[in-house]
Each structure stands twice: as structure tokens, then as C-alpha cells.
Symmetry: C2
Subunit: 403 residues, 2 copies
């Protein structure tokens, strides 16, 4: 009998202990996620595969591959203020929230028909997406991607609204965006998320196609496809309205074919000078910030696409449009000389500097790899496999305006 009782006791103990084990197991599930800092992580977009890889820039290795992100041509990404979540903006209108500590998709929605990038608010609470079709801006809560505000663009025919382009975040929990068809720039104040306050500026110039905001968040500069020059809005003094700067910036009289209108995000600000890609011409332009006058024109290998400053402003790295997109050139910002011409390989599409600038990571599409260069000796020091890599975005962007 005693044994029987023992047996029963053991049966009970057995069940209780099993339950405890299941409970503990459920606790250990998130051991799949990493307990680690996010400051040295990033992602590289695998455009053709609709996937991304999570990168560890300290160990120079891939931590995760995340699939099912849709059409990632011209995809861009922003980060939550804690650096854990990347928000991907796909060409197909997809908005995907990826957890880079767990390597999975937290949430994905197709919020528009045809999207062209987005931004995250200064306080990190709002993610905005600009859409071609239907033309407008949609603003979502960063935590659960619920829709906060749907702001339709100005109509330009009975049934069509303008495309929106060049959406950026600005200090004071604002967004700035431009309207391609109706030639406007808007400042969207989201301090009361339920009631966005919109300041509209019209006649900013012919066919705005892209924009940038200076790293200090002061100047919103819109590129114009329909004319030479750029439209500048001083966000410290919006009451002054937009004005045209660099009147000769554009295709001008030369009839060089323009293979690709340069990204305006591809501007580099180093000290009080801006380095920017000429349109059509094989030149990088040097412009004084504030006066916006051209100080110099630097002849380069091809039509520049991205012109990026090493974080300390000592070097400018430039990549080029087809048929010269196998090349990178490095410019010294003191002498304005080209100090090195690199040949990473065909489809050298994008570059990202580590936050303190000791390395630059470069996507080389045709070699299916990301190459890592030491920016001090300009040597190739690492290669990581990636399937047709394009954009590279490091988590340090969480701490910057307009990135």
C-alpha cells in the first residue's frame, strides 16, 4: 500500500513537474532572440529575393536572414529609437516591421499601391509613408502599425491625386514632403497626431522628384526634374517660404543622357560645405551651405549617384550610374583630389559608414556580396555573402534626423 501511495505521489509529482517544465520551456522560447546591444547592427536589402540580412558590424557576420518582404526595388528603411526594429518601405506599398534581435517579421502591411519611402518621427512614435498611388501620406503608430492619419495629396485631375516624394522627418515632430504633379512642398506638424497641421507651399518649381533635409534638420531641399535649380525651404523660417537655389543645377544645356536622376539623400554635408552629384555631368559639386553657391566642380569617373561623407568629414565616397557602376572614388575634402579609385565590381549600388567612420560597407550586386573597407588605408578587409544586395542601413540611423 505504501508503495501504491508512493506511486500515486510520484504520478502527481510527475504531472506537476512536467507542467513546470512546460512553463519554463515557454520562458526559454525568446532565448532564440539575442540578448545583445543593437548599436553595431544593421541590415542589407536583398532586392531580387525580397529578403534582408541582419548584419553584425563588430563580428563582420550575418546574424539572420529575413524573407517575405515583397518588392524591395528602391526599398529604404528607418529604425525605432531603441534600434531594435527596422521599418522597411517597399516599392509595392509594403510597410514591414522587422525585429533585428529575433530575425523575424513583427508585422507587415501593404498600405498603398506604389510607395516611395518613409520616415520616423523625432519622438519615434510615428512612421510616415509617402505614396504614388493613391497619392498621399499615411502615418502609422510605430508600435502596432495602426493607421493614425491618412493625408491625401492635392488632386491634379478629377480622379487623380499628386504623387508624393521626398518625405523626411524634421525636428519638432514634423514631416516634410513634396508633391510631384502639383509642385508643392508640405510641412506636416504631428504634435497632435489626431489632428495633423499642414502648411502648404505651392509653385516650388517644376516637377519635384526627390528631397533631402540637412543633418541639422534645418533646410529641406527639393530636386526639380522639370527645370534646373533646387527648391529650398528653411524650416527655422517657414514663413519665408521656399526659394530656388543653385539655378544652374540640373541638365542645363549639355545633352549628356541622364541615366539616373541622382538621389538627393546622396548629398554629403561636411563642415559647412555640401558635396553633391551633378546631374548628367561627370562631376561632384562643392557648395557653400547657407549661401548655396558653387565653390568647386570635381571631375569624377562617371555620373555620380551617392556622394557620401565619412562621418568626420575628411573623405567623400562616390559611386556611379550605369555604365560606370563598378567603381567607387574617394575624394579628400581638403585638397578636393581623388585619393583612390576602387573597383568593387558591377552593380556597386550603395554604401553605409559605421557610425564613427572606421569602416564603410558597400553593396556589390553582381558579386552577390557586401564588401567592407577600412577607411584609413582604403583596403578591402571583409566580404559577406548577400543575394543581389542593394541598400545598407545601420541602426545608428535611429539617432539621426532625416535618415
Amino acid at each position: 500500500m505504501n508503495r501504491v501511495v508512493n506511486g500515486v505521489v510520484n504520478e502527481v509529482a510527475y504531472r506537476m513537474i512536467t507542467l513546470t517544465c512546460l512553463l519554463l520551456l515557454s520562458l526559454t522560447v525568446n532565448a532564440e532572440c539575442l540578448v545583445r546591444g543593437t548599436g553595431d547592427l544593421g541590415i542589407v536589402v536583398e532586392r531580387a529575393a525580397g529578403s534582408l540580412k541582419v548584419l553584425d558590424t563588430t563580428a563582420h557576420k550575418v546574424l539572420f536572414r529575413v524573407e517575405g518582404l515583397g518588392d524591395l526595388s528602391h526599398a529604404s528603411a528607418v529604425y525605432s529609437r531603441d534600434g531594435r526594429y527596422a521599418y522597411l518601405f517597399g516599392r509595392d506599398g509594403g510597410l514591414t516591421k522587422v525585429d533585428i534581435l529575433c530575425g523575424n517579421i513583427v508585422q507587415r502591411l501593404v498600405q498603398g499601391g506604389n510607395s516611395i519611402g518613409g520616415a520616423i518621427s523625432q519622438d519615434g512614435k510615428l512612421v510616415a509613408v509617402s505614396n504614388y498611388d493613391p497619392g498621399g501620406v499615411k502615418i502609422f503608430r510605430a508600435d502596432d502599425l495602426s493607421l493614425v492619419s491618412d493625408i491625401p495629396a492635392t488632386p491634379f485631375t478629377e480622379d487623380r491625386r499628386s504623387k508624393t516624394v521626398g518625405l523626411v522627418d524634421a525636428p519638432g515632430n514634423r514631416f516634410a514632403v513634396s508633391l510631384y504633379d502639383t509642385e508643392e512642398s508640405w510641412i506636416i506638424d504631428m504634435n497632435d497626431p489626431a489632428n495633423p497641421e499642414i502648411q502648404r507651399f505651392t509653385d516650388i518649381g517644376r516637377l519635384p522628384y526627390d528631397a533631402l533635409i540637412t543633418p541639422d534638420g534645418r533646410y529641406y531641399i527639393t530636386g526639380l526634374f522639370g527645370q534646373d535649380g533646387l527648391s529650398l525651404l528653411d524650416l527655422w523660417h517657414p514663413e519665408k517660404g521656399p526659394r530656388t537655389i543653385l539655378e544652374n543645377y540640373g541638365k542645363g544645356q549639355e545633352k549628356l543622357p541622364v541615366y539616373k536622376m541622382p538621389h538627393l539623400e546622396g548629398w554629403a554635408i561636411a563642415g559647412n560645405r555640401a558635396f553633391l552629384p551633378a546631374v548628367g555631368r561627370h562631376e561632384v559639386l562643392v557648395v557653400r551651405q547657407g549661401t548655396w553657391k558653387i565653390l568647386d566642380q570635381i571631375p569624377v569617373h562617371g555620373q555620380p549617384v551617392f556622394v557620401m561623407a565619412r562621418p568626420d568629414g575628411r573623405q567623400i565616397w562616390v559611386n556611379f550610374a550605369f555604365p560606370n557602376n563598378d567603381t567607387i572614388q574617394v575624394i579628400d575634402t581638403e585638397t578636393l583630389e581623388i585619393t583612390k579609385t576602387l573597383k568593387p565590381g558591377g552593380g556597386t549600388l550603395h554604401m553605409e559608414f559605421t557610425p564613427r567612420g572606421e569602416e564603410v560597407w558597400i553593396s556589390v550586386r553582381d558579386k552577390d556580396e557586401v564588401q567592407v573597407y577600412d577607411t584609413q588605408n582604403l583596403e578591402l578587409i571583409h566580404r559577406l555573402p548577400a543575394d543581389k544586395p542593394s541598400g545598407i542601413f545601420f541602426s545608428a540611423r535611429a539617432h539621426h534626423t532625416g535618415l
Copy 2:
């Protein structure tokens, strides 16, 4: 017998399951650590208690309290490049590595008799500490705090070596430091950690007491206790050697008592202007970067200690030395007017901006609290309890030179 066998089987199962549970328990231990991004975290030093609190700047709450950090008067901290580890430099020569995701001390050593701050190398692999006694710089591996290099300072008597001050990191995996007693500045090149290359500059000026490096990592500027003016070294052109700038910067002819020599880390660089605390006088000086000429003198409430720029450069926040250390003043960088005078409370010792500048966190010693202000409307929005708080250091410093 069957029952007996059952009983025995259950006994065995019981033991096996118990072992499994212990195994699972050991796995769940790091569930005490947080799976989360580190980009929005920081620490506040509790000076008197020799402890710190880990801060969540998104939720505005304290995550952990970490004790046993020794003498934290004038303590400062730097971060690992992943943002997970804070390295604290204590006045007692203590170097402590704290894990802010787990809220514990990873490692602590007392590496010198009397220490005055440190820095982390651009690549994040080396942590350097400057010591008064014995005078010199010690350099440790960031991962395990093993000693890499012990660099004694220049002797100034038979048995005493100069104090080292103003240690900062510089691009190119270098450190810069100044020597108080022998009036030198050194550049320490750590590209080959086993064999530091040291460039020594002598006669830089009378009694250097502190230094700063500009955010771009180009200019190393040393404050002089023994004379007016500052010593400037252009790290892009060390061959030119140091030169004196701002010849009138210092106590000058006025005999105002200097309650506290201002921290040079307390300089703000906004655009191409530097805002710095006058010595002794109730003024903030505005200086053109590059020419280093004084453009303006802004009268303020007391002797400024920290003069800090909001990350977008639109505002300057200033705190003051005793007996005016209950006050903060906010200066508009366009008009140079004081837009607001705040009274956080006695012992308003330090400020730290969130990376994108929407908030500033302020230590108020005599109220045992950290106050959080909205930098747009300048309102107090949160209070967090802290025991005699002093320095506040956010993890975004991991991505900046000289912080």
C-alpha cells in the same frame, strides 16, 4: 511487484525530469537580462552612493540600479560600440564595465591611484584611462579589461610623473592626452596595440588642465590653468604642432573668484560656431570655428559650467557654478537671446540630450531626481528618482567621437 516497478520507474522519471528542469532553469537565467534594443538607454551616476541607475528614455523609467562602483566624484562613462556596456571611470582609479541589459557589473578593477576619465577607441576594441597618480595612461582591451599598454607620463621630479588630463579618442584609432605638470600634448596611435606610437608636443602652454576634441574629431583643444588662452592641435595636420588660440580666454585681469574651472567637454559646437563658458565671468562666448575669433559674448546668470547644444544646433542649454547652480538658461543660437530661465533646483549638475534632441535630461542633486524637459516647449514633463544624481550618459555616445 508491478506497483513496485512502477514506483521505481516513477522515481527514475522524477529524477530525470528534475534534472531537465534544472537545465531549463539554468537556460532561463538570462531571462533576467532584457531582450531589447539599447539605442534608447542610458545611465545616471549616483555620486554619493557609488551606484548608477540604468534609464529607459522611451518609457521614462529606471530599469536597474547597479551598486558597488566606488568613488564616483567626477565620474564619466563611455560605451561599447554595440551600446550594451558602459565603462565607468571613477576618481578612485576604478574602471568598471557595466552591462546595461542585465543591470550588473561585468568586471571592475582599480587600475590606478587617482584617475580623471577615459575614452574608447574608434574601433571599440580599446579603453584608455588617464591617471594622476601614478601619472600616465593605461590602455585595456574593451572585452576583458586585460592591460594592453601602460604608458607612463614624463617625469617632472626624480620620483614623480606628470598628471595626465583631457584624454579623448580621435579618428584613426588614436587617443589624445595632455600632461599637466610637463605642459605637453600627446597623440597616441593604437593601430598596433602592442606598440603604441606616441607623438609628443612640448611647451603647449602653462598648466593644461582639461581638453576637448571637436565633434568631427579634427581639433584637440586644451584649457590652460596657468595662463589665458587655449592650446589647439589640428589632428589633420599634427606636423604643424600646437598653437595658442583665444589669447584672452581665461581669468584675464578681472579678479572675480573662479569657483570652478569649466569643463571643456562643456563646449557646444553648433554649425561652424562654438559656444563656450567664459572663465570666472558670467558669460557664454561665441567663437567662429576655424578662425577661433570671438564673435560675441552673451551675459548669463552665473559662471557657466556646461554649455551644451541641442543636437540640431538651434538651442544652447547652460548650467552654472555655485552659488548659481540651481538654474538653467536656454539660448537661441540665431538671436543669441536667452529664451528661458529654468529653476530645476539646487545642484543642477549635468544635462544630456536625447540623440534627436526632443528631450533633455537634467540631474538635480538636491532634489534627488532627474528631470526631463521637452526642448520644444521647454516644459518639465517627467521626474525620475535618483540618489544625488550627477553625470548622465546615454548609449548614443557609442557612435560619437570624443564622448
